[in-house]
Symmetry: D2
Subunit: 359 residues, 4 copies
C-alpha cells in the first residue's frame, strides 16, 4: 500500500534513507532449500556502488551487506531473508542549503506536498541509494533463476544521442562489464565515456537508454489481464529513479509496421515451438512464449547539476538552488545492475506465481 514492497510471492520490502543509519530489505517468500553464495550478493553491490569509476559519483560507500536472517548453513529456510547495509560516508551538511528550498526536478517539493515533512539530507528516501537494497535482494533472486537456467542481461545502449545501432542479438553481452559505461560495443562505449566526461566537466548531466535481455524464460509466465508479464516489467523499470519510458519487443518503432510485417510466425524446432521473428519480445498476450524477452528503458538526465538554478522555498518565495554534493553526471552505468535487479525480481515472482495455475 505505501509502495515499499514489490512482488506477490517473492516479495521484497525495502527501507532506509540516503543519509540515515542504514538501508535494507526483507525478502519474504523465497523458497526453502536454495544454496546461497553470500559473496555473490556483495559482488552485485560492488557493481552498483558509488565511487567505482571516474564517470560516477565519488561518494565512498563500502556497501557491505550483513545477512540477518533466513539463511542457515548457506541454505534458504523459507523464512524471511533480511539484508542490511549500513551508511558510512554521508555528508549531510552538503544539504543544509536546500533544507527549506526545492531542487528543480527533484522530489523535494512532492515529498513535502505528500507527507507534510521531509528528510532533506541527500534526498532522504527519494535518493537512488535505496536501490542498493533492491540489488542485494535481486542477488538472491538471480541465484534462484540460475537454478532454473534463466539469465538476465542489461547494457547501456544509448547516452545522449550516441546509440548502439546493432540489435542485442549481434552483440557479445559478456563484454558489458569490460568498460566503465557498461556498453558491450567497445567503440560506442568509448564515445559514450568521452561524452560523459565533457558533460561532467560542464557541471551538467545527460540521459540515455538501457537495454535489458532475459534468456531462458519458460513459456507460460505472466498473468492476464492486469499482471501481464510486460506490464509488471514496465512497472518494475518505471519504479527506478529517473526512468521516463519503457518499451519491449518492437516497442515504439513497431507502431509504424503493418500486421503482416509485425506478426511472428510459429515453427517447430527440436520439439519446441518457436517464432521466426521475435517482434513480440518473448511475450504474447502478456505471457512468455519461450523466446528471449528484451526491452528498453529511457532515463532522463539526473536533476542535480553543478549550477545555480531558479527555484522557490517551502513558502513559495523565490530562491536560488546551487549544485553541491557528490553526484553522477550520468545515471546509466550504475543503473545497469538495477535494471537487472528489477528484471530478476519480476521474473522470479512470476516463476513462483505460475506454480498455482495448474492442478
Amino acid at each position: 500500500m505505501a509502495g515499499n514492497s514489490f512482488g506477490e510471492i517473492f516479495r521484497i520490502t525495502t527501507f532506509g534513507e540516503s543519509h540515515g543509519v542504514a538501508l535494507g530489505v526483507i525478502i519474504d517468500g523465497c523458497p526453502a532449500g536454495l544454496a546461497i553464495d553470500p559473496a555473490f550478493i556483495q559482488s552485485e553491490l560492488e557493481r552498483r556502488k558509488p565511487g567505482q569509476s571516474a564517470i560516477v559519483t565519488q561518494r565512498k560507500e563500502a556497501d557491505e551487506v550483513e545477512i540477518l536472517s533466513g539463511i542457515f548453513e548457506n541454505k534458504t529456510q523459507g523464512t524471511p531473508i533480511a539484508l542490511l547495509i549500513r551508511n558510512a560516508d554521508q555528508k549531510s551538511k552538503d544539504y543544509e542549503h536546500i533544507k527549506d528550498s526545492y531542487r528543480p526536478s527533484h522530489a523535494d517539493f512532492t515529498y513535502d506536498a505528500k507527507y507534510g515533512t521531509r528528510d532533506h539530507r541527500g534526498g532522504g528516501r527519494s535518493s537512488a541509494r535505496e536501490t542498493a537494497a533492491r540489488v542485494a535482494a535481486a542477488a538472491i533472486a538471480k541465484q534462484l533463476l540460475q537454478h532454473y537456467g534463466i539469465q538476465i542481461h542489461a547494457y547501456v545502449s544509448k547516452v545522449g544521442n550516441i546509440a548502439v545501432e546493432k540489435p542485442y542479438t549481434e552483440l557479445d553481452l559478456s563484454q558489458t562489464e569490460a568498460n566503465i559505461i557498461r556498453c558491450p560495443d567497445p567503440v560506442i562505449a568509448e564515445q559514450m565515456i568521452e561524452f560523459i566526461k565533457v558533460v561532467k566537466k560542464n557541471g551538467d548531466t545527460v540521459g540515455g537508454v538501457i537495454t535489458g535481455v532475459i534468456k531462458g524464460v519458460p513459456a507460460g509466465l505472466g498473468e492476464p489481464v492486469f499482471d501481464k508479464l510486460h506490464a509488471d516489467l514496465a512497472k518494475a523499470m518505471m519504479g527506478i529513479n529517473a526512468a521516463k519510458g519503457f518499451e519491449y519487443g518492437s516497442g515504439f518503432a513497431g507502431t509504424e509496421l503493418l500486421g503482416s510485417q509485425h506478426n511472428d510466425l510459429f515453427f517447430s524446432e527440436e520439439g519446441a515451438i518457436r517464432t521466426r521473428t521475435n517482434l513480440s519480445g518473448g511475450i504474447q498476450g502478456g505471457i512468455s512464449n519461450g523466446m528471449d524477452i528484451y526491452f528498453n528503458v529511457a532515463f532522463k538526465p539526473i536533476a542535480t547539476i553543478m549550477r545555480d538554478q531558479e527555484s522557490v522555498d517551502k513558502d513559495g518565495n523565490p530562491a536560488v538552488v546551487s549544485g553541491k554534493g557528490r553526484h553522477d553526471p550520468c545515471v546509466l552505468p550504475r543503473a545497469v545492475p538495477i535494471i537487472e535487479a528489477m528484471a530478476a525480481l519480476t521474473i522470479t515472482d512470476h516463476l513462483l506465481r505460475q506454480r498455482a495455475n495448474k492442478l
Copy 2:
C-alpha cells in the same frame, strides 16, 4: 495474484471471455455517498463498443450494462459495485479453424502453455473484449474524479507514421470525439482515417500511438518507491491489449537532453508552486506535483490479418492459419476510452491511497 484485479483501495476485478455468457466487473472500495449517473456508464461503453464506425470491427454488441449491487437510490453505498454486460453477437464458429492451431502473435500458444487448456472462441479471456468491463468500472471512477475536479483526456496522436506534430497543449482536446479516429487535429485525423481504410482494404492492420493527459491532479499522489505514480500508470497502460511501450513527460526524447535543458524550474503563481516547463510530466520522484500529467502509449498492429499465415498446431505440426472473423484494422480509436479508463482507475486509486499518509 491471478492478474484479474487492478488497484489497491479502489480495486476492480474483471471476469468474462469473448464468447462466453457475459463480461463484468466488481469494484470494491468505492467510497460511499457518490452520486452515480447510470447513463454515463452506458455512454462510456458506447465509445468503446464494436461496430461504431467503418474503421472498426463490425461485431454487433449492444454492450448494455446492468448494475447488480452497490448502488442504492443512485448513490454508492461503500459496498461492492457489480456491473454485468451480456455477450450477444458471438460467432464462435468463426474460430473452429483455429481450435487446434496457434494464430501468430496472438495469445493462443501462450495460454495453452500456461494453463494446459484454452477457450479458443474469439481468444477467450485474452480478447480485448475484456476491456469493456474496465471501461464500465472506470465510468464510476470518472464520476468520483469529477467530484474532485480531475479530468482525463486521451486521443490518437499517431497511426503508422502519420503523427500529430503539435503538443497536447496546442490542441483543442474537446474535439477528440469529433471524428471516428479520435484525433483532435482534424487535418491529421482525415489522413489517418484514409490510411486505415487502405490498410483495411488490403486485409492488413496498423499500429500507432495514443496520448493521455490528466488535468487537475493535486500534488502528493503516488507512493514511492515501487508504486510511483508513473510506474502504476505504466503498468495500467501496458496491461491493455497490444500495448508495446509507455513514456511520460519528456519520455524517450528526453534521454537526449542535458540536465540543464531538462530541469523544470519552480516558481509561485497565485499562491501555488508551479514549474516553468513540464518535462517532468507532472510527476517528480513518483509523486504528482500538481502540473498536467501526460504520457504516450505505443500500440502494435493487431495480429489478426485477413491473410493466410504459416503457423503450427498444438502438436507442433505445420499449419496454415487463415484470417477470419470480424476484426479491427486498427486498435487505436477504440483504445482511446480504454486508455482513459486505465488512467481514471490509477488516479482514483492513488487519490484514495493518499488519504492514509498524514495524521
Copy 3:
C-alpha cells in the same frame, strides 16, 4: 482492502445486497483443468437456502446459480469464475419501519456510522444472505479439494445448552444431513429441534455451536508467522454473521491442562509420522501435521426477535423497533454449509500457497 475478498491465491470476491438485484462471486486463481459439476454448486446452495424446513426462515428463494465465465466444456480455464444468483422473494416493505431507526444488535447503526448511508432493506450488505455467494464459490473449492482427497465436515454440536457430548471421532458424520438441525447424534438432534420450535413460538431466537472437521489435509499447509493455518481458519469463521468465538484442538478447555497432559506424542505408522493424541487439532506451529483438523465456532442468538424493543432513530431520539419480516429462530442449521464453505476456501487457498515454498 474493503473486506469483500477472501484468500490470497484462490481468491473470492463477493457482491450483492439482501434486497438488491443479485448476489454473486468471482473466484480468481482457481487452477485450470479442474472438472466441474455445475449440479453440485446448486445442491450446495440448496443446503443453505431459506425455506427448507420448519425451523428456518420462510423466505422463498430459488437461489439458482448461473455460471458466467471461467468454465468451458465443464473444465476450469484458469480464468476468473463468476457465479450469479438473482434475488427473487424480497419483501422490502417489511423494512420500511426501520428505515430511520436502528435494530438492536444489528449492523444498522454501525453501517451508518461507517459509510454515512445504508441500504436498510433486509440489512443490505450486512445480511447473511451474502453467504450464498460464499457457498457457491466453495462448491468449486470442494471439487478441487476432492481432487486432492480432502474432506470437509461440519455439524451442529450445541443449541442453547443442549450439547452433543461425544467427540466427533465417536459420531457418524455421514448422518449430519439426516435431520433438519444437522446434528449427527439423532437423540440430541431431536431435543434441539424441539427446543428451537419452542423458542420460535415465543418469538425468540437462540444461539449455539458448530463443530468443523477437516480430514485428509497433508502435512505442511499454513504459513507462519501471521498466516498460521488456524489463524486463517479463525478469521474465516469469525467472518460469518453472528459468530462470537473460535477454538481448535483442545481450545479453551485445554487451558486447564498441564503440558505433560497436553503434548501429542509422535509415533510412526505405515510409513507416516502421526501423533497418539490430537489435542493440537491437526496444526502445530500454525502448520498442518497430517492429523484431523477440528474446531468449534460459537454463534450468538439471531438479533431479530418478534418483539418490540427499545432503540433510537438516526438522530438519537427514542424509538421502538418491532420484529417483522421472515427470520430464522436459530442460525445454526443453515450455518453448517457456510462453515464448510469457509473451511474449504481456507484450505484450498493454503494448498495452493504451499506450492511456492519449495524449489
Copy 4:
C-alpha cells in the same frame, strides 16, 4: 503470501530466528508527522523480554532496539520504519539433541514437512522470540492510537483453573503491572503465581486465558464482509504462539442465551448513541459501535517440559526427547504485551483503512 506480514495499510513485516543474528520489523504505511518517543519502544520490549521474573524463562536478552530508518528528528516521515533487535544470549548447543528428532507439540515436524529443512536452534522462526519484533512495531502503533485517544489493555484472567471471576469493568486495569503474573486482581494473582511455581518445580507447564480490552475506538472501524473487526482481531490473536481460542463480547457463553436476553438496546447519552448492555463486545456487523471492545484468548500449556517424552526422529524411528534449555513454565505473563501489540496493530490498521470509506 508467506505469512510474515500483518495489516493492509499499517503493514508490518517481521524477520529473524530465535538463535540467528537478529530479529526485526519493517513498518510500512505509518502516517508522517507522528512524534515518536524511542524510550517507549524500549520499555514495551522490557515488558516482553525474558528473565524479568522468577516465573518466566531465564534466557538473558537485553532486547535493545535500534531504529534504522523512517524517523527523523523524532518524527515519522511516512517512509518505512525499520527496527532491529540483535540476539545475544543464544545457547544453540542446548538444541543439538533435537537436531534430528521432533519435540512433541512443537513445530519441528511441521516445519520440516513444509520446507524440507529447518533451523533447529531454539525453534528457529517458530520461536515466540519472533514476537519481540511485533511488540516493537506495536510501540509505534500505540503512540499513533494515543494520538487518537484509543487505549489498549490486557491482563491474565485465568491460569489453569484459577480464574478472575469479576468482569473487566469491575477491575482496576491500572494494577495489571503491579505483579509478575499481570493480573489486576491481587488475590487471584497471588494464587496464580503460587500455582505456576509448583508447576515449574515439577518440570511441567500450564495454560490459561488473557483478556483484552480496547477503549476509545470510534464507531465505524472494521470492513465487512470478510475483514470484520473481530475477524481480524481473531486472526491477530490466533497468530500468537500457543493460542488455541478466541472469543469476543458474550463469546462461547453467549451461545446459551436467547435473543431477548442477548440484544444490546440503544439509547442516547450526551449526544452519543450507546447500548445499555455490551454483549456485542463493541462490534456489530463486524464494525465498531463506539462501546468497549473486549475479548478472551486461550493459551495451551507450553510444549517444552523438563521430562523425557516419546517421539520419533526425522526418519520416523523412535526417539526420546529430553527437556533442555531455558523455558517459560507459563506463557501468560509475557503474552500480555503481545496481546496488546496485536490488538494495537489491528486497530491502527483499521483506523487508517476507514479513511477511504467516505468521499
